[in-house]
Amino acid sequence: MSLFLAKRFATLIGTLLFTSIVIFIVLEILPGDPALLILGIDAQPGQLEVLRQQLGLNDPAWTRYWHWVGGLLTGDFGISYAYKVPVWELIGERLQLTIPLAFISMALTAFLALVLGVYAAANHNKTGDVAIMATSQVGISIPSFWFAILLILLFAVHLGWVSAGGFPGWGAGLVPALASLILPAISLAIVQAAILARITRSSVLEVMREDFVRTARAKGVSKRAVLWGHVLRNAMIPVITVMGVQFGNLIAGTIVIEQVFTLPGLGRLMFQAINQRDLELIKNVVMLLAVFVVTINFIVDMLYVVIDPRLKVHDV
């Protein structure tokens, strides 16, 4: 493993540690008395005491923090206050929807963005480029949840091709399950794809102005071959950086989109947890989302090493 990745891995662990502390402080220290927050201000003192016992709130913050993190590491996520079931069960069930949704939209984003961005750059300042750039400008400007509503209007209300929301579960078969994820995935992907397409295009254009591209052209390599053979790999570095950030945005976006389509995913679980003030659930879902985002960024760093040989020189 290269030193670069070793450093990045240390950062990953550090970030997760820091994240867990922040989440803990925000959810368990800042509110003063979590029991009061959960039960509301007109709770009986007796009820509060019972809940404090139950949640171990009488222990010092240190102990509670270690208890929580230790639990996370051994797969014990605690018990949901509102649902009275282990948090992990709730999360596990919802992940079956959110993870496919996130990956389908990310794949869609990457596909659309790369195709359109590279096409636009290759046809710089021509009609196709101008059209793609204008469309992407609009794409960036629309809120994804509004786009989702428009999709519902068109495909569910007007055309009646799909239902306006809901998820039949994977048990209902692959096709119906996937069909119910199509519109949500498109509405999540479209905005991110618009952003990424613009970044891809400007990155490709930037690399096309580099000296080594001129060298390749001077060798007699055609424009198209230069684009595929020399430009793309160099242009991917900023693109995958942005893709890493976008994955975080997509995960956050699922919270909103699952609401629009009434999908029983992690985002909706979180949303419900907030309404029910289920701190135990919120704490763990947020932590899980953070783990996703941070891990994706680590994977992005690993991709850098694959793409850019300059990062692999120093081996441990």
Partner: protein, 278 residues
């Protein structure tokens, strides 16, 4: 200067963006004094009415005038955007400039902190805040503002570093000037243009994020009209009165489009080198 103006007038996206942004600001300003109807007045008899002379875009499920709500909603978007950008700008730029001036472990710390904050998209941190402090526009402003801090911190650190590497800064050090004076006299003036550009773009992003939060019911609370919540309410009636779901979305889209175009245009006008690649 006149040269700059002449180029600005000829610049298509700058002009379109400028006009859209101006319309947004103007509508919000007018709504402070006058709206066609009272956007707060509930009138069950007038619910879900189609457009008419009195109600240019019709009424919502509570009989409130859509146009008036949209106008007042603009105020809301602008206030959230301006404050959130101001929080991010002031703290982020300060941190970035300190990082660029000091280098070493302090810079590293600031950047790691930025990484961490960036891993939390605005919607996620807003949800966390509302979980504790309850929903409300103040919380969404704070959440979006916090998300803006690392954006500006990274930008101004990177730009600041490139200014610090320039010879005129070395010359200034040779004149006995300290890091603070150099930052104020040389670094800041040279990075203001890109910060302004970024601010317009973050403003647009703030409007989008606020709309999403209000849509979820975590942002601006009733009865204050907001575009996001109008969409939420409209969704219930999407089968009967789909138009209600169109207008607020268009309002958001045009505002954001305007700010984005304005930002792109400014970038082109400020840096002609970048302009050619676009």
């Amino acid at each position: 200067m006149s040269d700059w103006l002449a180029r600005a007038v000829r610049h298509r996206s700058f002009m379109i963006g400028g006009i859209l942004t101006f319309v947004l600001l103007a509508l919000a300003f007018v709504s402070l004094f006058w709206t066609p109807n009272n956007p707060y007045r509930l009138n069950i008899r007038m619910r879900l009415k189609p457009p008419s002379l009195d109600y240019l875009l019709g009424t919502d499920a509570f009989g409130r005038d859509v146009v008036s709500q949209l106008m007042v909603g603009a105020q809301n978007s602008i206030v959230v955007g301006v404050i959130a950008v101001a929080i991010g700008l002031s703290l982020g730029v300060s941190l970035g400039l300190i990082g660029a001036a000091r280098r070493g472990w302090l810079e590293e710390l600031i950047m790691r902190f930025s990484d961490f904050t960036l891993a939390f998209p605005a919607v996620l941190s807003a949800i966390l805040l509302t979980a504790i402090f309850g929903p409300g526009s103040l919380n969404s402003i704070v959440a979006i503002g916090i998300y803006n801090i690392p954006v500006f911190a990274r930008l101004s650190r990177a730009a600041g570093n490139s200014i610090w590497a320039r010879d005129f800064v070395t010359a200034s050090r040779a004149c006995g000037k300290g890091a603070f004076r150099i930052t104020i006299e040389h670094v800041l003036p040279n990075i203001v243009p890109i910060i302004v550009v970024q601010a317009t773009i973050q403003f647009a992003i703030a409007i989008l994020a606020e709309a999403a939060l209000s849509y979820l019911g975590l942002g601006t609370q009733p009865p204050t009209p907001s575009w996001g919540r109008m969409l939420n309410e409209a969704q219930t009636h999407v089968f009967t009165t789909p138009s209600l779901a169109i207008y607020p979305g268009l309002a958001i889209a045009f505002s954001v489009l305007g700010l984005n175009l304005l930002g792109d245009g400014l970038r082109d006008l400020i840096d002609p080198k970048l302009a050619r690649q676009r």
